[in-house]
Amino acid sequence: GIDCSGDSRMCCRKEFFVDFKEIGWEDWIIQPEGYHMNYCTGLCPLHMAGIPGLAASFHTAVLSLIKANNADAAVDSCCVPTQRRPLSLLYYDRDSNIIKTDIPDMIVDACGCT
């Protein structure tokens, strides 16, 4: 996977960090301090197509959207997550119980072209 940098328009992973304190969630989420909601962005020209991706059905849905919106788009592969990991949370619920859990596939570690 490629991390986005500079003006590259190719498929890459864009880092995006949500600080729980900034959004006023630090009182009920004990750990961690924030959520790395990284996402995939950028173009997948033909020579990059075929790098294995996770959501083939997602790719088909997006492709049909592209064709519906712009029949002559020369795009036939999408920039999607290829590696993800869980978000481990320690948080209070409404009854002030403390819950520790892992939410699977919440953090994107790498992106690629399907």
């Binding site: 009920w28 959520y35 996402y39 173009l43 209070y92 409404r94 403390i98 520790k100 859990t101």
Partner: protein
């Protein structure tokens, strides 16, 4: 979409950076709340003291309760929320989350108590798990255990069955009664420091919602 162009999939123009950031933060909030099956962010009225929380997490680590290693498993901590006592008995109340009762199966639950002993030797303690009777007016004994406390320190007691029966009856509160044979005051150290507060650690597996396959 790259700056200045429109998205080939949805046809919308690229968002201004601040708008994009707001959209992403809203998406992050919605994603976390939906995965935790919470309609909204909880408002915390009774945060647990940090000392009690750290001690509970440390005790759990010591018991190797790393339950959150496979999807759907979660660990729930209910730290002592209220208590009452007489010269020879102490009653502890633990409150459990309402959502959990309907959406998860309790795999195991352990009560953690920090004993204190007035003198060397063995000190008999009767531990009763109480639950409200169907009318909710009185408490009935769900189980009774005789213990012999030899020394001060942490002890554990399996309360899995009691917590499961609590949930099956739609109740939210587990009451534990400790009765001591002789007049040695409270058998617990809890009153002196919140690091010794009793707590219940339960492991549960979230029930996956029933999926309807459209053919």
């Amino acid at each position: 979409a790259p700056k200045g162009l429109w998205c080939p999939a949805c046809g919308l123009a690229a968002l201004a950076p601040t708008t994009q950031r707001d959209v992403l933060i809203a998406l992050a909030k919605q994603s976390i709340l939906s995965k935790l099956r919470l309609p909204d962010r909880p408002n915390i009225t009774q945060p647990t003291s940090r000392g009690a929380l750290l001690t509970a997490l440390r005790r759990m680590e010591a018991q190797r309760m790393d339950t959150a290693v496979s999807p759907g498993l979660l660990t729930l901590l209910s730290v002592l929320c209220t208590g009452s006592s007489t010269s020879r008995s102490v009653r502890l109340h633990f409150r459990f989350t309402w959502e959990l009762a309907g959406s998860a199966d309790i795999l195991q639950a352990t009560l953690y108590l920090f004993w204190t002993v007035p003198s060397p030797g063995s000190h008999p303690v009767t531990v009763r798990l109480l639950q409200p009777d169907p009318e909710g007016l009185n408490m009935t004994v769900a189980s009774e255990t005789q213990l012999d406390v030899q020394r001060a320190g942490w002890a554990t007691l399996d309360v899995g069955q009691a917590v499961r029966s609590l949930f099956s009856r739609g109740s939210q509160r587990l009451t534990v009664e400790l009765e001591v044979a002789e007049d040695w005051g409270s058998p617990l150290l809890a009153g002196r420091s919140d690091s010794y507060w009793p707590f219940v650690a339960a492991q549960a597996r979230a029930r996956t919602p029933h999926r309807v396959q459209r053919r």
